[in-house]
């Protein structure tokens, strides 16, 4: 299928054609309007549904398998002051959310009813350790969190009482982003100062302090094979680092505004990024180039997530200040 937007000049056609050669086409599949009464701050997909969180207190769960993406469940009052982070595990049966009050909650799917319910909650033990960013390990057994004082914690969600099992000290700069590698070995954190760290969860030590982005790092994300770490933020570039060596291997530039979110496709071939100026970009990791750009209204794009690969073609979802969730799929052929 062809892009419907007409180009105004013939030069534009030539240019478009050239881009077409190396670009991928994604089509808007569906948009759910007014999912939340205020900015959608986070999206977390499972194989059959997408969970969304916003400045309101509830989590909404929409089916992604039915034609019109119907609302399946609402969890009211999940975090009274609003929710800023929401993540799921690979299996799609566990989720975690963190709210403006500084706590994290763990959610699980009831095997009989298929409904989500609360499993427990986590919070910092004293002032300044309120939880901000969170990440779940692929199997959902561990949760990593950041706090305003720069400490990075790892919690064991399967153990009784969900204890904190690791606490990593950094230089005290506010931890804005965090991720756990799929194999559970590494924790990465991005900080207000621009610092990015990788910690080894086995040894409990910092394994690398990566080349700083100088400006706030709003997203860090491990590739599915845990070989690469992508980091981005106000520097408007996406930096790729080799996890084992700690070397920076690439810089992807093209965003014109702060980058707010990063997500790897299941195969690790593509990176999806969302920015403050409501642009989503898809990057080929092989060629280190941007292969598609989409606009999602004119408000900040807080969340851009691939949906787990099913039999259907590749899909992703965008959500942000527009309060809507839009689904895109790769154009066939």
């Amino acid at each position: 299928m062809v892009c419907k937007r007409a180009s105004t000049s013939s030069l534009g056609y030539v240019y478009r054609a050239l881009i077409y050669l190396q670009s991928k086409q994604y089509l808007t599949l569906h948009t759910i309007d007014d999912v939340h009464p205020t900015d959608i701050f986070s999206l977390a997909p499972t194989k059959t549904a997408i969970l969304s969180a916003s400045g309101s207190s509830s989590i909404h769960i929409h089916s992604t398998t039915a034609q019109d993406f119907p609302l399946q469940q609402t969890i009211p009052g999940a975090h009274k002051l609003g929710i800023h982070h929401l993540v799921t595990n690979n299996e799609g049966n566990k989720a975690a959310s963190s709210g403006f009050e500084g706590e994290a909650k763990i959610w699980g799917v009831n095997q009989d009813s298929g409904e989500w319910g609360e499993l427990g909650s986590l919070k910092g033990e004293y002032k300044g350790t309120e939880i901000w960013a969170i990440a779940l390990s692929a199997d959902g057994s561990y949760l990593a969190s950041t706090s305003i004082d720069g400490k990075i914690s790892v919690w064991d969600l399967n153990a009784e009482g969900m204890p904190k099992i690791r606490e990593y000290e950094t230089k005290g700069s506010y931890g804005m982003s965090v991720d756990l590698s799929a194999d559970g070995r590494f924790t990465a954190s991005g900080h207000e100062s621009g610092s990015i760290y990788i910690f080894d969860n086995d040894s409990g030590r910092m394994s690398h302090s990566l080349a700083s982005l100088i400006k706030p790092v709003r997203a860090v994300s491990f590739s599915p094979a845990s070989k690469l770490l992508a980091a981005a933020g106000d520097a408007r570039v996406i930096a790729l680092y080799d996890v084992l060596s700690g070397e920076q291997v690439a810089n992807l530039s093209g965003h014109g505004a702060w980058i707010l979110s990063l997500d790897w496709s299941d195969t690790g071939e593509y990176l999806l990024s969302g920015s403050y100026d409501s642009k989503a970009k898809i990057w080929s990791v092989d060629t280190r180039s941007c292969v598609a750009t989409h606009s999602h209204g004119d408000k900040p794009l807080w969340a851009a997530k691939w949906l787990p690969k099913t039999t259907r073609s590749e899909m992703f979802a965008l959500g942000g200040g527009s309060k809507a969730i839009s689904f895109y799929r790769e154009a066939a052929g």
Binding site: P37, T38, D39, F41, G55, S56, S57, K80, L81, G82, H84, F100, E101, G102, K127, G128, E130, I148, D149, Y174, M176, E192, P216, D234, R236, A257, W258, Y276, W302
Partner: protein, 491 residues
């Protein structure tokens, strides 16, 4: 009565630096609370009043009694204008009686050689338990009091100190009431700075005392020195024939104290603008646009969190002409929004004043300003700056130099504010909630000065914005002319 020279002395006093430091800031208020409460046992759950301690809370019957006495007193004292607005004098004798009974009790205890002297205070508790009254758009005190017994010699040196401070303040207040003069909180502090250590201690105990006695602070004959500045095309005609003109001083006037008989002329005022910062207030007044702006409006700054004098003045202005649009220009940070909230919904720290001033019986409303509109600075205005800059300035995303990251205190404050009832999900200020959340998400704040980066600067921007406000107002006026009654009714 020699009241007006007194007032000139109190309120016409040139603003000196020491007054600027004065008054309650939310942040320091909390810190003080921590400091003062650190030694105090948690007595919120046990509001005991021992027999040896004087009874400080009037029961309902006593309140009635006080009121009826108060009214008869008021007729005797109609000439007495030295306290706030007439009705605040009604408790005059009742207050003196109660203070005397506290002091007498202390003296009795001394004579009887009791082991401990004690005074029980009803203090304003933390803001957590305070409820926001959605119907009236204000923060009342309701059940948010806690009691605290202050004993001498007490278990710790702090307790003995607290007792001394309290007795000393009672003494000052008592003499002010007896001599029928008004003193400022600053006065009290300077009469014994070694004892009080800092101004906020006096502020706190005076307010607690007012809270305990269930009267507005003005009834104790204690006021804050006026710290607000006001300017614009308005005038006040005093009973003695003097006229205060809001445009007379290019530097602005100290917020005047309005007597009941003063006539406020607001016929030229198309809008009222509250500015958080004195610096911005001054830059607007000294700008080339001021003759243009000033001739259509009234500008006021209370230099941060508003004092009661500024709030009372605004309340009176709005009471005189409820149809005039009221706008606020504050920093884009948690304090800016909290300041706006104090103007609009009343103070969390001084919630007892919100309900006691004016009282319900007199028909006057408390000090909140429900019609206050947020003019700026908001997140999208910072972003407009960005859009303008995009062509030339590739370096930043939001604003330029004037945007800053939030400090740990800012984040804490924003988080606390989100838990206030005003900011609740279904609460009255969903826009504020949203902006606070955005601040936390982006970790960005900006000062009013960010508007200076626009062509025309802050005052150019204001002229544009207020022009719109004024014309909307004109439109509303046309509509309202159909039913003039709505123009004067309370909003």
């Amino acid at each position: 009565m020699s009241s007006s020279p007194l007032h000139d002395m109190l309120f016409g006093f040139p603003s000196s630096q020491e007054f600027l430091d004065e008054e309650w800031e939310y942040g320091s208020e909390e810190d003080d609370t921590d400091m003062l409460d650190c030694q105090a046992p948690d007595d919120t759950t046990s509001p005991w009043i021992l027999q040896s301690s004087p009874k400080l809370y009037p029961s309902d019957d006593e309140l009635l009694l006080t009121n009826s006495i108060g009214q008869s007193v008021a007729t005797n004292e109609t000439k007495d204008k030295s306290s706030a607005s007439g009705q605040t004098t009604r408790n005059h004798d009742g207050v003196i009686d109660r203070i005397e009974s506290i002091l007498t009790d202390v003296v009795d205890a001394l004579i009887e050689d009791r082991d401990q002297l004690s005074i029980t205070l009803r203090t304003r508790s933390g803001t957590s338990g305070r409820k926001f009254d959605a119907a009236n758009g204000i923060v009342p005190t309701a059940s948010a009091f806690k009691t605290r017994k202050i004993t001498f010699p007490g278990n710790t040196p702090q307790e003995a100190w607290r007792f001394t401070v309290l007795v000393r303040i009672l003494e000052f207040v008592h003499s002010a009431l007896i001599e029928n003069v008004i003193i400022t909180k600053r006065d009290i502090y300077y009469r014994h700075p070694d004892l009080f250590v800092k101004q906020s201690v006096v502020d706190r105990y005076v307010d607690d005392l007012a809270c305990t006695l269930g009267v507005p602070r003005a009834s104790l004959h204690v006021t804050a020195a006026a710290k607000g500045l006001v300017a614009g095309n308005f005038s006040i005609r005093r009973l003695d024939g003097t006229i205060v003109n809001g445009l007379s001083d290019r530097e602005g006037l100290l917020v005047p104290k309005l007597m009941d008989d003063d006539v406020l002329n607001l016929s030229e005022v198309k809008w009222i603008l509250i500015i958080e910062k004195e610096a911005t207030f001054r830059s607007v007044l000294s700008s080339l646009h001021w003759p243009d702006i000033g001739s259509f409006g009234l500008v006021l700054t209370a230099k941060g969190y508003p004092d009661l004098a500024s709030r009372t003045f605004l309340r009176r202005v709005v009471g005189t002409s409820p149809h005039i649009p009221l706008c606020g220009l504050v920093d884009y940070d948690p304090d800016g929004i909290a300041i706006m909230s104090t103007y609009k919904h009343g103070s969390y720290a001084l919630a007892h004043e919100n309900v006691t001033i004016g009282g319900t019986s007199t028909g006057e409303r408390p000090l909140n300003l429900p019609q206050l509109r947020w003019l700026g600075v908001k997140s999208d205005q910072i972003h407009q700056n960005r859009d303008m800059d995009c062509g030339t300035c590739k370096d930043t995303n939001i604003g330029t130099q004037a945007s800053m990251k939030l400090t740990a205190r800012d984040r804490k404050k924003a988080r606390q504010m989100l838990s206030w009832q005003i900011f609740a999900e279904q609460g009255p200020e969903s826009e504020w909630r949203h902006e606070l959340q955005l601040m936390l998400m982006l970790n960005v704040k900006a000062e009013i000065q960010i508007l200076e980066e626009r062509p025309g600067g802050t005052s150019g921007w204001l002229k544009e914005q207020l022009g719109e406000v004024g014309s909307q107002h004109g439109f509303e006026m046309n509509n309202k002319s159909v039913s003039p009654a709505t123009g004067v009714s309370w909003l």
